[in-house]
Amino acid sequence: MASSKHNEVLYGLYNDEEVLMDAIRNAHKKGLDIMEVYTPFPVHGLDDCLGLEESRLHIAGFIYGITGTMTAFGFMTWVFTRDWPIIFGGKPYWSVPAFIPISFELTVLFACVGMVITFYTICGMGPGITNPILDDRITDDKFCIAFNVNNASSGDVNEMKAFFNETGAEEVNKKTI
C-alpha cells in the first residue's frame, strides 16, 4: 500500500460500473495484474469480482464492542456495590436494568471509535498524512482501474493500453505517485 517509494501507474477511467466490472473480468482472463480499482461509491459485487478477502474489520469491531460492554458493566458494578454504594429510587445497589443503557452506549462508543482508528491505521490515513490521488474525478463520477508499470516492458504497457481500449475506457493516463 502506501510506501515511500514512488510508483509508476497506468490507469484507465470508465464511465459506468457495469463496464468496469466487465473490464475487470476481462483483465482476469488476460492474466493482467490489477494494482487497484478506485470507485466514487461502493460497487456491489466488486470485492467478489476482484477476489478480495472478506474484511476482518468487523471482528475487531466485535472485540471493541464487548470490551466496551464489560468496561461499563464492570465499572458500574464496582462503583455501586464496592466503591460508593448509594440507594437510587429504592432499588438495590446492583440494579442490572439501570446499567443496561450505559453498557449499550459504551459498547457502541468503543466499537465505533475503535473501528475508525483501526480502519484509518490499516489504510494509512489520518490527520497530516496526504495521500496522492490518481485523478480528482474518481471521487466524483469516474471508475478507475490502475496497473503498476514500474517494471513493465513496453510490450506489457502496450498490452494494457490495448486492454483499456477494447474494454471501453474513456481515458488512459500514466502518472507517478
Binding site: G45, R82, G90, P92, P101
Partner: protein
C-alpha cells in the same frame, strides 16, 4: 422489461397443489378440534381458554397481515427495488387481513353477548358514575375503552387497511397485464402507500391498545403499541423467509438468491434487536418509576409467570442475537430456518404473555364483581386473600427481591457487598413507606370518591397502595364496602391463584399449540390461494431488473443456492 429477464421464466406461476390443500385442510381441522376442546373443556362457564386462544391467534395473524402491507408500502415509498421478486408474497399475506378482522368482530360480538369477560372495561356499569361498581380509572378512559369505539375503530381503521390492500393488489395485477414505460401503476401504488404508511402507523397503535392492551384495563404504557407492532414485524419477516425457503424447495423462485436471503436475514436480526429495544424501554421505565398501576403488569408476569417472562427474552433476543450475529449465518438456509421457527414461536409466545395473565386476572375480578347482573358468579372463593399479606409482599419489593435473589448468589467473601446489600434492604422499606404516601396521593386524585372509606374499612390499606396493587383490587374495594365479600382477592393479588399451575395460562399447552398450527394453516391457505392467482414475477415492475441483480457485497463466498449473481 430489460434484457436481463430473458434467462428467467417470467410467467412462472405458483400452483397450489391438492396435497398442500389437504395438508393445510387437515391442520386447520386440528385447529378447530383444539379450539372446540378448549371451549367445552372444564367447568369454566366463560370459556376463557377458548376466547383467549382465539383472540391470541387472531391478533397475531391479523398483525402479520397488516405488517405485510406496511412493509410493501414502506418499500414502495422508499424507492426500494430489491424486494420486487418477493413482493407477491407480501401481497398474498396481506390478503389474510379480512379474515383476521372478521375474527376480531366475532370477539367483539362475544363480549357484547356476555359470552366472555376478557375485557375489564366491558364489565357492566363499570364506567357508570352512578353505579356502585364505578371504576374511576376505567371511567377516565371510557371515551376510548368502550364497546362502540372498539367496534367502530376495528371497522373503520381495519376496513381502510383492507381497502388499501385491495387497491394495492389490483394495481399490481393490472400492472402485470397492462404496465408500460409510463409506470402509471407504480405511481398510483405510491399514492396508496403514502396514505397507508402514516394512517396504518397511527391506527395500528389504537387497535393494538383496544385488542390487546385493554385486557389490562388499568395499566398505562406508552411503549406498548410499538413493542407489540415490533413483535408482529419480526414474525412477518420470519414467515416471509420460511415461505421463500419452502417455495424454493418446491422449485420456484430460482432467481431469489442468497443475496435476497441475506438481507432478509439482516431484517430478522435487526428487527429482533429492535423488538428487544422496545421491550426493554417499556420495562425499564416502569421498573425505574415504580408507579403501582404500571408496575403491577410486570410484577405479575415476572413472579407468577416466570417461564413466560424469561423464555420470551431468550427466544426473541438472546438466541437470535447469538445465532445470527455471524455474517454467513444469515445465508445458511438451515440456520435461518431454525431461527425463523424459533422467533415465530417466540413472538407467538410474546403475545401469549401479553394476553393470558391479564385475561386470567380479569376473570378473577369478574368472579367477585358485584354488578355482574344475571351472569352471576360462584361464591366459592374462600381465600381471605391478600388482606392478610405482609406488607413486604408488595410489587416494589418483589421486583427488587428478584434482583436480591441474584445478589444472594454473590460470594460470601464479598463482605462489603453483603453489608451494602443488607443496608439496601433497610432503605428499601423506608423507600416503600415513602412510596406508600405517594401512591396514596395519587390514589386520592384518581379516585375522588370512596377511598377515605377504605381506610376505615381496612387498616392495611396504605400498604396496599405501596403494593402497587391498588388498581387491582379497586373494583373489589367497592364491592367490599357495599356488602359483598372480599372474595377472591388472592386470585388477582397474584400470590395464591395465579401461582397455581393452570394449563393454557401458565404456559401454552398442547391445545394452544394445536390452535396455533390451525391458524397458521388457515393463514397459509389464504396466502397460497392468493399466490396462485398471479404470476410470481411482477414482470412490469420498474424495479424488477434491480431486484434480479440484487447484491449485498458479501465477500465470504459460500453461497447456499448458487442463485443469480
Amino acid at each position: 422489461m430489460g434484457h436481463h429477464t430473458k434467462d428467467i421464466d417470467i410467467s412462472e406461476k405458483f400452483e397450489f397443489t391438492g396435497r398442500e390443500k389437504s395438508v393445510l385442510g387437515g391442520l386447520m381441522g386440528l385447529g378447530v378440534i383444539c379450539l372446540a376442546i378448549t371451549y367445552f373443556q372444564g367447568s369454566d362457564d366463560h370459556h376463557l381458554r377458548f376466547w383467549t386462544n382465539f383472540l391470541h391467534n387472531t391478533v397475531f395473524f391479523t398483525g402479520i397481515a397488516f405488517i405485510s402491507m406496511f412493509l410493501l408500502a414502506a418499500k414502495v415509498l422508499a424507492y426500494s427495488g430489491w424486494h420486487t421478486v418477493w413482493k407477491r408474497l407480501l401481497e398474498a399475506k396481506a390478503q389474510f387481513l379480512i379474515f383476521g378482522l372478521v375474527s376480531i368482530l366475532l370477539i367483539w360480538l362475544g363480549s357484547q353477548l356476555g359470552m366472555h369477560h376478557i375485557y375489564h372495561w366491558n364489565f357492566p356499569n363499570i364506567t357508570d358514575e352512578a353505579s356502585e361498581c364505578f371504576d374511576p380509572i376505567i371511567g377516565s378512559k371510557a371515551g376510548f375503552l368502550n364497546s362502540s369505539f372498539y367496534l367502530g375503530a376495528t371497522l373503520v381503521f381495519g376496513g381502510l387497511w383492507y381497502a388499501c390492500v385491495i387497491m394495492f393488489r389490483r394495481l399490481s395485477l393490472s400492472e402485470d397485464a397492462n404496465g408500460d414505460e409510463s409506470y402509471s401503476h407504480h405511481k398510483k401504488m405510491k399514492l396508496v402507500s403514502a396514505f397507508f404508511m402514516p394512517f396504518g402507523g397511527f391506527t395500528s397503535a389504537a387497535l393494538i391498545w383496544l385488542w390487546v392492551m385493554s385486557i389490562d384495563s388499568h395499566w398505562y404504557s406508552t411503549m406498548f403499541a410499538w413493542y407489540a407492532t415490533a413483535s408482529w414485524l419480526v414474525s412477518a419477516v420470519a414467515l416471509l423467509i420460511l415461505t421463500i425457503i419452502y417455495l424454493k424447495g418446491r422449485g420456484y423462485f430460482s432467481y431469489i438468491s442468497g443475496e435476497h436471503i441475506h438481507d432478509l436475514g439482516k431484517y430478522l436480526f435487526g428487527f429482533s434487536i429492535f423488538w428487544t429495544y422496545l421491550w426493554f424501554s417499556q420495562f425499564m421505565l416502569i421498573w425505574y418509576a415504580n408507579v403501582g398501576e404500571e408496575t403491577i403488569y410486570f410484577d405479575g408476569r415476572m413472579n407468577d409467570y416466570p417461564l413466560l417472562f424469561w423464555a420470551n427474552l431468550v427466544m426473541n433476543f438472546a438466541l437470535p442475537l447469538l445465532v445470527l450475529v455471524r455474517n454467513d449465518a444469515k445465508r445458511k438456509f438451515g440456520i435461518l430456518t431454525f431461527v425463523c421457527v424459533l422467533v415465530l414461536f417466540g413472538h407467538w409466545w410474546d403475545f401469549f404473555q401479553m394476553i393470558k395473565p391479564g385475561a386470567l386476572h380479569t376473570e378473577h375480578m369478574w368472579h367477585s364483581y358485584q354488578c355482574a347482573g344475571d351472569h352471576g358468579h360462584a361464591d366459592d372463593h374462600s381465600e381471605t386473600g391478600f388482606l392478610n399479606e405482609a406488607p413486604n409482599s408488595d410489587a416494589t419489593a418483589m421486583l427488587t427481591n428478584f434482583q436480591d435473589d441474584n445478589h444472594a448468589h454473590d460470594d460470601a467473601d464479598h463482605a462489603h457487598g453483603d453489608e451494602a446489600h443488607a443496608d439496601g434492604e433497610h432503605h428499601h422499606h423506608d423507600e416503600d413507606a415513602a412510596n406508600a404516601d405517594e401512591h396514596h396521593h395519587h390514589g386520592e386524585e384518581a379516585h375522588e370518591d370512596g377511598h377515605s372509606d377504605d381506610h376505615g374499612a381496612d387498616g392495611h390499606h396504605d400498604e396496599h397502595h405501596s403494593d402497587g396493587h391498588h388498581d387491582d383490587h379497586h373494583g373489589d374495594d367497592h364491592a367490599g364496602h357495599h356488602g359483598g365479600e372480599h372474595g377472591d382477592h388472592g386470585g388477582h393479588d397474584g400470590h395464591h391463584h395465579d401461582t397455581e399451575f393452570r394449563m393454557g395460562f401458565t404456559v401454552p399447552g398442547l391445545l394452544e399449540l394445536g390452535t396455533f398450527i390451525g391458524f397458521l394453516a388457515f393463514f397459509y391457505f389464504v396466502v397460497f390461494t392468493s399466490l396462485a392467482k398471479a404470476a410470481l414475477v411482477p414482470k412490469n415492475d420498474p424495479y424488477l431488473d434491480e431486484s434480479l441483480h440484487h447484491h449485498v457485497g458479501y465477500g465470504g463466498g459460500n453461497m447456499e443456492d448458487g442463485g443469480h449473481h
